[in-house]
Symmetry: C2
Subunit: 456 residues, 2 copies
């Protein structure tokens, strides 16, 4: 197994920064059709880049954004095949005015690179690429493992394109291990192996019917108010204890495995740290369950946005013509995610307020949750590498977030999932001023080099 | 009393349209500080215009927007003094993209003038001005009544400036009748005398505390969600029957006077017409009370806007950093409007969700409701004029809308209020494509000429 010293010698920070920055300049916002062209240009750049480091690279077309596929076949007999999954798309960058430097002009400040996608997921994809590049150079084009890259462009909006195409790529995707670097740890001095991900599905609900905004004096008390009715409708989604109040929603949600939950609870929650990072105390969700349980083992229904009527200075005395909410549900691995969305829709439709028109549109399909077995030899190997490289204590984490496609991808590829990532809360992913530190980037590089070369 | 024929001879449509259009070009949006300069320019124009038709005109400074004051003293012994109140400010024009022609470029189409303020209140102020001008011309500078104009610039945002200054102007405001033309009738073939107005007060409530938007996967189920909590908070404002669920809110709301309610209910509600105009059925407000009662005799709490988090295309998986709602309450004449606002605030504060910061800011002060006595001789005279001029059947209306300052103004001026206006629902006041028909403008002109000259 390579030592930390040996790995550092393989690392070229200047080159990493240059390529990473080039990758970040593309405004590859997948959720907004306006940026479709930028997504394609970003995919083309990445294909070209993977080709330039010695992989056979191509774009796989889907019904939406192209997927970058690249592969390297090891000459060694019985070399394990590693499939790396990541995404080149990013979240929208608004509110733009809150960025210190423009989101698509990567800027280095105090050892951190600032840009939309700096961490999620372009930064974590890039250290994997740079690790493979370094090992190929060191081995004069030879690696002890076969590697395939599958980098999609719709992770932030539900992975619709790749999901529909997966089955047709089954053969080329066959792998022993599915590596994903799209997670993080709770602090810089610990490393984390992610044991679970939640599934995700989303919808938009709109109440309308009014011909236009109406005068709230002339019509107040006689016209149904879409803003009021939407608030009342959304308020029915949870009970007083924070539990989801949708009929049958918990039918396929098992109580957590006792050993898993015990392991998850071992990762102590630093309350002050949580408040310092988020601004608030973690008092959301279901009462009577631990932080780790609420985040890793329980589903949620979250409102991501509500918009209706006037929001400017002063007052505007209207009954708003319509009201819209964007809602996502996170599901646990055992849960039928599409079924959960259907139950949520039924709940809203059944409570449609009198006199208004309710419209529900589903977001492009999300994906199921994932649960990894704690006894898997791949998990053991990853833990050994991380400990060997002295990357802090290694924790097993049950995440609250989703990487929509991972569960189906592991199934189609017939591969054991391995999720290790180096994101930190301070990275502000999905928010203004996203960044990733050079230190964490280098840790990611070291882990990948260490893990891949452990098969030698 | 002048005949309709005599009045038509006094009417110069071309001149009216020109002056009315000039008045409409000012973007006198009072609620938005950005337009403060436009408000002042509008007031100056109006002062100049009133001066040009023979009145002694000046600007009265207030703590905010100036008030246009102009007066004419009749040489006739014991001539009654009429105080006319109106406003030169308008509602914001957004959403701009829904206007067929720009809101501040008055455009004549099919006998209607389109612009923000075309009706509310610039159009109705202008026919009053033109009527006084015509009578002064006809009488070679002499009128049978004394007239004073008090045209303020903050009606759409609570009349704060004029309210604070009223007492200090008491002497010059003394009048027999307070005339207001800021109301309307339910159809073009009826005339309406407004017998009641509701009071108004508003607030903005914000839930915050999150450092920034947070990832709805990483934080979902642990972080309190401001959008969800705001929906839950707003949902407590009404009970299942549409009644306001704020403690003590109805303590000073009497049941309507039986005779007044009977008169109000006589004005038949054309359900199809309501739906055609508004797009929805009038199923809002308190169950078990008539349309006229809910609108004219009962208070409301209406949400004028809610904004939180993402509202664009696709999904953005965040817990929004904050959530804001704008709320107004309409009160009945007997109610203490400030007290009602205080109760509403207490209600919200007492239910502040755990873990988040609640902030409430009151809108600039609104005003009380108004109830006119059906037996007043002024009401009788107005009815006689309207019937004499054959302006359709005359109805007594209890309005749902507010003209915040009218109640206090009537008290300070020691005057009997007379509210007759020629607005129609089709005018789209407070909404895109506001307009006012030349027909209704002329009716307003006729009514004012008829009423003022009835004292001869």
């Amino acid at each position: 197994m390579k030592t930390a010293e040996q790995i550092r010698k393989l690392y070229d920070e200047e080159k990493c920064l240059r390529d990473w920055s080039d990758f970040l300049r593309f405004q590859s916002i997948s959720t907004d059709p306006e940026y479709a062209g930028e997504c394609v240009r970003c995919a083309e750049w990445l294909r070209e880049h993977l080709s330039s480091i010695g992989l056979e690279a191509s774009l796989l077309e889907t019904q939406a954004k192209p997927v970058v596929y690249a592969s390297y076949r090891s000459p060694q007999q019985d070399a394990p095949r590693i499939l790396f999954y990541g995404h080149y798309d990013v979240q929208p960058a608004d509110p733009l005015e809150e960025w210190t430097t423009p989101p698509f002009e990567p800027t280095l400040r105090d050892g951190r690179l600032y840009a939309r996608g700096a961490e999620d997921n372009k930064g974590q994809v890039m250290y994997f690429v740079k690790a493979v590049e370094a090992l190929l150079q060191e081995g004069q084009g030879e690696l002890p493992v076969s590697v395939a890259f599958l980098i999609e462009g719709e992770e932030e909006c539900g992975s619709g394109g790749i999901a529909a195409a997966l089955e047709s790529w089954q053969e080329r995707l066959q792998a022993d291990i599915l590596m994903v670097c799209d997670t993080g740890s709770r602090a810089a001095d610990v490393s984390a192996i992610t044991m679970g991900l939640r599934g995700i599905a989303g919808l938009t609900v709109r109440l309308s019917g009014l011909r236009t905004d109406l005068h709230s004096g002339v019509h107040g008390g006689v016209c149904p108010n879409p803003a009021t009715e939407l608030a009342r409708l959304l308020a029915t989604l949870h009970d007083a204890d924070g539990k989801i109040a949708v009929d049958g929603f918990y039918d396929d949600v098992p109580e957590p495995d006792v050993e898993d939950l015990a392991l998850a609870n071992q990762v102590e929650l630093p309350l002050e740290a949580y408040q310092a990072m988020s601004g608030v105390q973690p008092v959301g969700g279901e009462k009577g369950r631990s932080f780790a349980e609420r985040r890793g083992f329980r589903p949620t229904v979250e409102i991501n946005g509500i918009h209706s009527g006037y929001g400017g200075a002063g007052m505007k005395t209207i009954i708003p013509r319509d009201a819209v909410a964007k809602i996502t549900t996170r599901t646990v691995a055992a849960q039928d995610t599409e079924g959960a969305l259907r139950k949520l829709e039924d709940h809203l439709l059944r409570r449609a307020p009198e006199g208004l028109v309710i419209t529900i549109s589903e977001s492009e399909s999300g994906g199921s949750g994932l649960a990894v077995s704690a006894s898997s030899p791949v998990i053991e190997r990853a833990r050994t590498v991380l400990e060997h490289l002295q990357m802090g204590s290694v924790e097993l984490m049950w995440e609250g977030a989703s990487i929509p496609i991972v569960a189906s991808l592991a199934e189609v590829a017939n591969a054991e999932p391995l999720l290790v990532g180096f994101g930190l809360e301070e990275d502000n992913i999905h928010a203004p001023n996203e960044s990733f530190s050079l230190d964490q980037f280098f840790k990611g590089f070291s882990y990948v080099v260490g893990f891949l070369s452990s098969y030698k």
